[in-house]
Symmetry: C2
Subunit: 148 residues, 2 copies
DNA sequence: GCTATTGTCGCAACTGGTCGCAACTGCAAT
DNA sequence: ATTGCAGTTGCGACCAGTTGCGACAATAGC
């Protein structure tokens, strides 16, 4: 089962500079956390980690920076089936979209890259004349070990 | 006061009866709203409409009933790309899954049924040995009239 | 119909995400 | 280096969703 290829250690901060977006102390801390994160951070985890780098970082700034990163297409927002409450999860956008699967029993999160998914998106673009910017496929169910 | 109990119960209420789930005045009101809704209600709209049928319905009961309906597989929960804040939208689960597309410019929501989507889910079940219970594909982008 | 059982409800307190505002700061022009 | 200012921040108030609890009401059994 194919896994998503990890992006080069590219810099979120570089994207900001290129697009003339102001780089503040707080944003630097938040971006650094997002860069180095093992995936799927939620907002409060992100806040806690960013505070370790710059203690002045406030909750609102985390949410505002997440919104900015989303608008810039640099991160994806996930529900992961809301297995643990309503919160959302964030991960750096990779070269290729991937599907997320969440096991409703053990809570494991799996990722899957598929050509059929690409085909499906192509179909939507053609049949609906819809120009896709972002797409998100999340599946809930039972993983191999839990479905026995 | 709630409507008379002799009123023709909808499918949701029938499902509750079959499964031995207690049918209360408040739930009857909420189910009735979900049955007759043109789609994609959010929680506060649902609360407002349900209160018109039974004024005693409380916010918590709406959320608890939504959770119950989700667990029973009777409704789907959608983000619709969080075009209007973080809230979630709900719709009755239909015979066949469909994709949701949201236009980032005009806000229009479109639905699309695709065999390729079914193929993709089949692939996930087979390749990942994952038993799918619920799936949700949401796409953000620009509709035909907005992408010119 | 009446009562006992137990699931559900409304309420109020709490948590997590948002927003308006005044203070601050990154950055670029001098 | 200094200055000027738009963009950004922390803060506090606010709003939406959750939870624990005592009161209540839907059902089953009499
Ligand atoms: Mn969501
Ligand atoms: Mn992922
Ligand atoms: Zn599992
Ligand atoms: Zn549009």
């Amino acid at each position: 089962m194919p896994l998503p290829q990890t992006e080069m250690p590219g810099r979120l901060q570089a994207h900001f500079a290129e697009r003339g977006i102001r780089i503040t102390q707080q944003r630097r801390a938040i971006l650094q956390v997002m860069e180095t994160a093992s995936k799927h951070l939620d907002a409060s985890q992100l806040l806690r980690k960013a505070k370790k780098i710059d203690a002045s970082v406030d909750r609102s700034t985390v949410y505002r920076t997440l919104r900015l990163l989303k608008r810039q297409g640099l991160i994806d927002e996930l529900d992961l089936m809301h297995l643990n409450g309503e919160k959302h999860y964030y991960e750096r956008k990779l070269n290729r979209d991937h599907i997320h699967m969440a096991c409703l029993r053990c809570g494991k999160i799996m990722e899957f890259v598929s050509d059929v998914f690409e085909t499906l998106k192509g179909e939507v673009e053609k049949d609906c004349r819809f120009h896709i910017v972002v797409s998100r496929l999340e599946i809930g169910g039972y993983c191999a070990s839990c479905s026995k």
